[in-house]
């Protein structure tokens, strides 16, 4: 018997003065230390030469003190299903005193192997330790932290979602005292509909999301007993689709209820305004955060949210494509935002970069939030054509000089950067950055910008503290929210970090807890990690 063989040749393809003195040569603000610290994760994107879109999009990283020993451990999401899976690196700083990481994935049972995209952290079961949510091109995975090791409780938690999941946020949207879960989803890419795309003039390249259909994001309500219910439809989230990439929750209109903002790639961003009855209304267009200043959609990817201008309302930074520049929406405090990207020089400084992970971080301890943005192209850069990864770009640090920002050099080599997470990894009182690079080694940037600077770190303990607003009243009034979401596919540390520009201790610290209780603690001491427990401060109105 012979095999019936049609000729199947493929023929179709074509196709102390703590701030740096600008007059002197500045010392490096960060030091690259991944390898020396043993943080040797290498992302594998599974690139096959077929230019499948998921290859270029991942992955994320989380900073999480999973073992509760007082230092931040690092969880990396792996992209290629054929690789070893996600990795958890335990920080040995406590008790050894030396910053050193060890791969403890197997021991912690957190090595999910999928087409990994992102990670979110949050104590969904309220037992005091942070749990992990892993997003994939494929089903999401919920890891319950059982005091230093993890159990996959996705099924038990009734958390089922299919498709291409990207960033996620644990948020108590209904203010019932437990963390619900919002998961952004990208497009309807699947094994059966991978498209082959070419650049405008015929060369093989990655598709834009326009090649696929955008999909609906997912909202899961936590019933407080360890179970989630998919409320996407009933909460109104199903009323709009978008190629969602970045997610952050914040009370943008300052009514006490969290909104959810989603950066959509190439389409209008979404602002889900909390209606205080378990539902949301999409209001990005009317609030001025759907598009850039000119009314054109941008390639929204990463997000960073903070009150950068100290007006008491949280502003939004969205990272976009090369030749769009990042967009900075200033919250006017009345439910409206103004695109101040040009005015603040953010657009100009980011114009040549495709931004992904982003974070507000006061690098020079002047009580003004600077901007860290990690970059990497998504289509072949002509100047790098022929290189195995022709998508490399430098990361950016934009220093906040008051009215506008200015760019300073970072030590990290050009890379195809995606996820970025911020936290005090070496416990020296300033914020460090870990970066996940697509198809390359991770980077650890240790902050050495202002070693003698004053700082204050706040750890909140309460019924459910995520979303609490903390105000430090000193030389300036700094207001920050306890959150781990934002950036791109990543999770930041679960502390509230303040910098102090003077030696004088702040007058007081005020916490507005998520359920509305407001408490004050007097005279917090600089250079300490404060643990503030709900109900132990002086209640104020």
């Amino acid at each position: 018997m012979r095999i019936g063989l049609a000729a199947m040749l493929v023929i179709a393809a074509t196709a102390c003065s703590r701030r740096p003195d600008p007059e002197s040569t500045p010392a490096p603000l960060f030091r690259e230390a991944a390898e020396e610290a043993g943080l040797v994760f290498r992302h594998q994107n599974g690139a096959s030469g077929a230019f499948h879109l998921p290859e270029i999009m991942g992955s994320g990283v989380a900073l999480i003190d999973y073992d509760g020993d007082g230092d931040l451990d690092v969880y990396f999401v792996q992209g290629d299903t054929r690789a070893k899976g996600n990795r958890l690196y335990r920080n040995l700083l406590i008790p050894s005193g030396k910053l050193r990481f060890e791969d403890r994935t197997a021991e912690a049972r957190a090595g999910h192997a999928g087409a990994g995209m992102g990670v979110a952290t949050g104590d969904y079961d309220g037992d005091g330790d942070p749990d992990l949510l892993v997003t994939n091109l494929g089903p999401i995975v919920l890891y319950r932290n059982d005091g230093g090791s993890f159990t996959d409780v996705t099924s038990a938690a009734r958390l089922a979602s299919e498709g291409w999941h990207t960033s996620a946020s644990f948020v108590d949207y209904d203010r019932d005292g437990d963390l619900d879960l919002f998961v952004a989803r990208y497009v309807d890419f699947g094994p059966g509909n991978a498209r082959s795309c070419k650049g405008a003039t015929g060369e093989l390249d990655y598709c834009t999301p326009k090649a696929y259909r955008p999909v609906v994001d997912r909202l899961f309500r936590n019933d407080g007993t360890g179970h989630f219910t998919d409320v996407t439809g009933s909460a109104g989230i199903g009323s709009a689709t978008g190629p969602g990439l970045g997610v952050v929750a914040a009370d943008f209109n300052r009514d006490g209820w969290p909104e959810i903002y989603v950066a959509n790639d190439g389409e209008a961003n979404h602002l889900w305004v909390n209606q205080r009855d378990g539902t949301f209304r999409e209001a990005a267009l009317e609030s001025g955060v759907a598009f850039g200043e000119d009314g054109l959609p941008q390639a929204g990817m990463g997000l960073a949210v903070a009150d950068y201008d100290h007006n008491g309302a949280e502003d939004i930074l969205v990272t976009n494509l090369t030749r769009e520049g990042a967009t900075l929406y200033r919250n006017e405090g009345d439910g409206f935002f103004t695109d101040v990207s040009a005015l603040t020089a953010v657009r100009r400084l980011t114009y040549d970069h495709t931004g992904f992970g982003a974070a507000w971080i006061d690098v020079d301890s002047d009580e003004r939030l600077d901007l860290m943005i990690v970059n990497g192209a998504v289509t072949v850069m002509e100047s790098q054509r022929g290189h195995p990864q022709p998508f490399r770009q430098p990361s950016l640090l934009l220093m906040n000089r008051g009215a506008a920002f200015e760019s300073v050099q970072l030590p990290a080599a050009e890379a195809v950067s995606r996820g970025a997470a911020v936290g005090d990894i070496d416990n020296d009182g300033d914020l460090d950055v870990v970066i996940s690079n697509n198809g390359g080694p991770a980077r650890l940037l240790l902050n050495q910008a202002a070693p003698g600077a004053n700082w204050l770190r706040v750890r909140l303990e309460g019924r459910q503290p995520v979303g609490a607003l903390v105000s430090l009243e000193g030389r300036t009034k700094q207001t920050k929210r306890l959150r781990t979401d934002g950036s791109y596919l990543s999770a930041n540390e679960g502390y509230v970090h303040f910098t102090l520009a003077t030696e004088t201790p702040p007058a007081r610290i005020v916490v507005t807890w998520p359920l509305g209780r407001k408490e004050v603690w007097p005279s917090p001491q600089p250079r300490t990690v404060l643990t503030l427990k709900e109900g132990t401060g002086q209640a104020i109105r």
Binding site: I3, M8, V10, G199, E293, L343, A404
Partner: protein
């Protein structure tokens, strides 16, 4: 200008700087120098260059509008507003200047004055999407919900249009750049629609406008190959590799053309070069394997089919050939494993897969499975009109039934 038109801004800026040095009194070079700085996100340099250009032609209105925009981007809203206001005074019908003045005034916090100019811009150019969007945002902030909604509706209807710039210098540049790009894009679309002759003509025009376009030559190799104009394809290949000797798609398209021309040894060499230029080119591995197998080297073929499948697990053709070679090599379980992965989704080639499975099962001595898969192959061959298979399958079915009955 060619570099500028092709968005090679860095190199274009360098060239313009030389030109400005050589011919400082030529408006065009200073102006293009300003444009390219603005387009590459350097508003301060753009503004300086606009200053130089406008000293030469102070009344060039598009230049004044662009200088005002650069001032705004640079963080000088006051000077920007002055410049825009001067343009509006000289040319009250300039919608772009009204919109820009609105932006500058809004940055200064003069929201109601800004609205006057946004409204004027919308009146002058009713489908000005950016102006409607800006007006909607401002009305919203000022609490005038009805007007905000009206402008949002107009914005949504406006299909993201803006007034034409009426800038002869910019138009000259755009003709140059968009010409080549547009022709290439048109060519790709025509080829996709099967209009190969027209696609080739459009591609040639693109190359005429931009002789450095490797992609234009690469596309033409394929187009001429499909048109069986092999000598012209050959010329395009030579032109492409002269510009970029390691362009994998040039070698690949040339390989396909040579295959069509039945110049199999040369095709094999072309696919080899493709793999050298891009080891992750799954199609090149597949085609190379096919040709070396044809030359009697099944071991090497198997290696490359395997690589194609590793690189592109969804590559059904390579997987089919891999399974077939496993069968021929007596690695029957491996063959069955590969064939099994090809059974879904069903299409007109699934009959071949079922037939392959039947063959492997038969050689394993599993007559029942062989019969089952042969029947399935036959049903699919009938369903998809595969007359090349049905007769042979009917014969095999009879043979298998006889042997099973013994």
């Amino acid at each position: 200008m060619l570099l500028h038109a092709h968005q090679q801004f860095g190199a274009a800026r360098h060239c313009y700087a030389r030109l400005v040095g050589l011919a400082p009194s030529t408006f065009k070079w200073s102006y293009y120098s300003a444009l390219v700085a603005a387009e590459s996100g350097s508003p301060a340099q753009a503004r300086e260059a606009f200053d130089r250009a406008l000293q030469l032609e102070p009344n060039y209105l598009p230049g004044r509008v662009r200088r005002a925009a650069s001032l705004l981007e640079e963080g000088s809203p006051d000077r920007s507003a002055e410049e825009y206001a001067a343009v509006v005074a000289d040319s009250p019908e300039n919608a772009e200047a009204h919109y820009g003045l609105g932006r500058a005034l809004a940055v200064q916090g003069r929201l109601k004055e800004a609205l006057i100019h946004y409204e004027r811009a919308c009146l002058l150019f009713p489908s000005y999407s950016a102006a409607h969007y800006a007006a909607a945002q401002l009305y919203g902030r000022l609490g005038d919900v009805a007007r905000a909604r009206n402008h949002l509706r107009a914005y949504e209807r406006s299909s993201r249009t803006a007034p034409p710039p009426h800038d002869p210098y910019l138009e000259e540049l755009q003709r140059l750049g968009q010409g080549a790009q547009a022709h290439l894009q048109r060519s790709v679309a025509l080829a996709a629609a099967g209009k190969l002759e027209e696609a080739a003509t459009a591609n040639l025009e693109a190359i005429r406008l931009d002789p450095s376009s490797v992609q234009g030559h690469v596309n033409l190799i394929s187009l001429y190959g499909r048109l069986r104009r092999f000598s012209e394809a050959e010329s395009q290949y030579q032109a492409a590799v002269a510009l970029n000797p390691s362009h994998s798609e040039a070698h690949y398209n040339y390989g396909v053309m040579l295959f069509d021309a039945e110049r199999f040894a040369e095709a094999r060499r072309a696919f080899r070069k493709t793999i050298e230029a891009n080891p992750m080119h799954a199609d090149a591995h597949n085609n190379y394997a096919f040709l070396v197998e044809r030359e009697g080297k099944p071991g090497e073929a198997l290696k490359h089919y395997r690589e194609a499948v590793r690189l592109a697990p969804a590559h059904r053709t390579a997987r089919f050939h891999l399974a077939r070679l496993f069968t021929a090599a007596g690695q029957l379980q491996d063959a069955i494993g590969q064939f099994e992965q090809l059974r879904e989704p069903e299409d007109e080639r699934t009959a071949d897969v079922e037939y392959g499975l039947a063959t492997a099962c038969y050689r394993l001595g599993d007559l029942d499975r062989a019969l089952k898969h042969t029947r399935r192959a036959h049903d699919l061959a009938v369903k998809y009109g595969r007359r090349d298979l049905t007769g042979r399958l009917e014969h095999d079915l009879r043979v298998l039934a006889r042997r099973r009955s013994r």
